[in-house]
C-alpha cells in the first residue's frame, strides 16, 4: 500500500473524529438552548423551581460528551494520540469516517430532540411541580438512543482497529 493511500486513510479517520465531536457538540448546544429558553420563562414566574429545572437543561448536554469520547477513541486507536504505528488503509479510513459521521448525526439529532422533550417536561413541571420525577423520564428516553449510538461507535472503533481486521481491510 502506497504512503499516499495511508495518509488519505488517516485523514478520513480524523475527519470522522471531527464530525463525531462537531455534530454532537452543535446538537447539544442547540438542545440546551431550546430547554433553557423555556426554563428561563418558567423561572420568570416561579424562581423557586430552579433546582428542578437544572437537570432538564443539562440533559441535552450529554451528547456533546459522547461525541467527544467517540472522537478521542478514534484518535487513540488510529495513532494520532499515543503515537501508535498501525497502518490505516483507505478502507479503514472510510469505515472510520462513516462511523464518526453516523455517531455525530445520532448525537446531533438526539440532542435537539432531547431539548424539545426537556422543554415539554419543563412545561409539565411548571404546571405541576410534583410531576418532576415523571417529567425527567421523557428526555431520559431520548438519551437511551444517544447512549446506544455511542456504544455502537465504541464497539465498531475497537473492532475495526483489531490487527486481524486491519489486515483484512488492506
Amino acid at each position: 500500500m502506497s504512503p499516499e493511500w495511508i495518509e488519505i486513510g488517516r485523514g478520513l479517520c480524523y475527519a470522522g473524529a471531527g464530525l463525531a465531536f462537531g455534530l454532537a457538540g452543535a446538537g447539544s448546544a442547540w438542545g440546551i438552548s431550546i430547554a433553557a429558553h423555556q426554563c428561563a420563562g418558567v423561572l420568570r414566574e416561579k424562581p423557586e423551581l430552579f433546582g428542578r429545572m437544572l437537570v432538564m437543561i443539562a440533559l441535552p448536554g450529554t451528547q456533546g460528551f459522547y461525541g467527544f469520547i467517540a472522537a478521542i477513541l478514534i484518535m487513540t486507536q488510529t495513532g494520532l494520540i499515543g503515537g501508535s504505528t498501525i497502518k490505516i488503509s483507505l478502507g479503514t479510513g472510510l469505515a472510520m469516517f462513516f462511523i464518526g459521521l453516523g455517531c455525530g448525526i445520532a448525537q446531533f439529532i438526539s440532542a435537539i430532540k432531547q431539548g424539545e422533550a426537556s422543554a415539554a417536561g419543563i412545561s409539565l413541571i411548571a404546571r405541576r411541580p410534583e410531576s418532576a420525577g415523571r417529567a425527567i423520564l421523557f428526555p431520559a428516553f431520548v438519551e437511551t438512543y444517544a447512549v446506544v449510538g455511542l456504544l455502537a461507535t465504541v464497539l465498531f472503533i475497537i473492532f475495526l482497529t483489531q490487527p486481524v481486521v486491519l489486515k483484512f481491510l488492506g
Binding site: A35, H37, Q38, A40, G41, V42, E45, I122, R127
Partner: protein
C-alpha cells in the same frame, strides 16, 4: 437533514411563562361557586385566588363599574407583558387591536377621550386624527369606500362605527395573511364571519338598512360576498344557508331561541366553538399558537368573571348567569 424546529426556541421563553400562568386558570366549578355567593365581600375574597389578586384589595368599597375596568386592565396588562417577550407580536396584537379601533372610533368622531390602552395606534396619532389631521389614519381605514369617495366627511356617527368595524376586520385579515399558523388563520376566518353576522343582525334589529353594511363595512376581502348576500337576502331565515359551515349551524341553533336574546346566544356559542378550536394550541410546547390559546383563555376567563361578579353585584338571576358562562380553558 436538519430537523425543522424553526422559531421553536425563540418562543420558548414566553411559552415557559405561560406554562406557569396556565396554572392560575379557573375551572367552571369556581364560577358556579362564585354565582352562589350572596355578599360582595365573599365574592372579593374568592377573587384573591384568581389573576385579579394584585388588582383587588379585600375590604375596599367595590362597585360594578370598578370591576369592569379591573377585568379589562388585568387582561391588557398581561397581554402587554407577554407581547414584550414574543418574537412576533401578532398573536397578542390580534387581541389588543380591538382597543385601538375602539379608540379610533372616538378619534374619527373628533372625540379625544381614549379610554382603552393603545397598542398599534399611539395616543398622539389618535389625537391628531381627532383634530382633523388624517395623515396618519390607518391604511385599513383609508381602504373603505366611504373614505375613497370622500363620503366620510359629515357622515352619520352610527355609520362611522360601521366603517371603523370594516377597518378592524381588514386589519384582522392582514394578520391572517401575515401568520403561517393554520390555527390562527382559521380562528380569524371564523371570527370575521361571526363579527359580520352579529354586526348585521344587530343593525337589522335596530332598523339600520343592511345596504349600509354593503356600502360601509366592505371591502373585507373574501367576505364581501357574505356581506352582499346577507344584505340582499332580506329575510333572516335564509341566512343559515348563506353562512354555511359550522357557523351557519350555530346561527341556526341560536335563532331558535327567539324568546331570549338570540344574538347573545349566537355570540356565546361561537365563542365556545372558537375556544374549543383554539385550545389545540395549548398542547404546543412553544410557538405562537400557545400564546394565542392562552390569551383567548384569559379573555374568556375575564369575560366570565365580569359576567358573574357584575351580575351578582346587580342581583341578576343566577340561572341566567349560569346559562351565559363561557366554556373555561381548564
Amino acid at each position: 437533514m436538519i430537523p425543522r424546529i424553526r422559531n421553536f426556541s425563540k418562543w420558548g421563553f414566553v411559552c415557559g411563562r405561560i406554562s406557569v400562568l396556565e396554572g392560575n386558570f379557573l375551572p367552571k366549578e369556581f364560577f358556579l361557586n362564585l354565582i352562589n355567593q350572596e355578599k360582595t365581600d365573599d365574592i372579593v375574597a374568592m377573587l384573591q385566588d384568581t389573576f385579579l389578586r394584585e388588582y383587588i384589595s379585600p375590604g375596599a368599597m367595590w362597585l360594578g363599574e370598578n370591576f369592569s375596568n379591573i377585568f379589562d386592565r388585568c387582561f391588557n396588562d398581561m397581554a402587554f407583558s407577554l407581547r414584550d417577550d414574543c418574537p412576533s407580536t401578532l398573536p397578542v396584537d390580534l387581541f389588543l387591536i380591538q382597543n385601538d379601533y375602539l379608540n379610533l372610533s372616538n378619534a374619527v368622531k373628533e372625540r379625544k377621550d381614549f379610554v382603552f390602552p393603545s397598542c398599534l395606534f399611539s395616543y398622539d396619532i389618535l389625537t391628531a386624527i381627532a383634530e382633523g389631521d388624517y395623515a396618519d389614519l390607518p391604511k385599513t381605514f383609508k381602504e373603505s369606500y366611504a373614505w375613497q369617495t370622500g363620503e366620510i366627511f359629515g357622515i352619520n356617527p352610527a355609520l362611522l362605527d360601521i366603517i371603523v368595524d370594516g377597518a378592524y376586520l381588514r386589519h384582522l385579515l392582514m394578520f391572517s395573511d401575515a401568520t403561517e399558523s393554520e390555527l390562527i388563520k382559521k380562528y380569524i376566518y371564523m371570527r370575521i364571519t361571526s363579527y359580520i353576522i352579529i354586526a348585521m343582525w344587530r343593525g337589522m334589529n335596530k332598523g339600520i338598512p343592511l345596504k349600509y353594511y354593503q356600502q360601509y363595512l366592505s371591502p373585507v376581502g373574501e367576505f364581501n360576498h357574505l356581506i352582499d348576500d346577507l344584505a340582499v337576502s332580506g329575510n333572516i331565515e335564509n341566512w343559515r344557508g348563506i353562512i354555511g359551515g359550522e357557523i351557519g349551524e350555530i346561527f341556526f341553533e341560536s335563532s331558535e331561541y327567539e324568546e331570549l336574546d338570540p344574538i347573545s346566544i349566537f355570540d356565546l356559542k361561537v365563542n365556545n366553538y372558537l375556544s374549543n378550536m383554539a385550545h389545540g394550541g395549548a398542547y404546543q410546547t412553544a410557538g405562537p399558537e400557545r400564546v394565542f390559546a392562552f390569551l383567548l383563555g384569559l379573555l374568556t376567563e375575564m369575560q366570565n368573571l365580569k359576567l358573574v361578579v357584575i351580575g351578582r353585584i346587580n342581583n341578576i338571576d343566577r340561572d341566567f348567569l349560569r346559562a351565559r358562562l363561557r366554556e373555561c380553558y381548564v
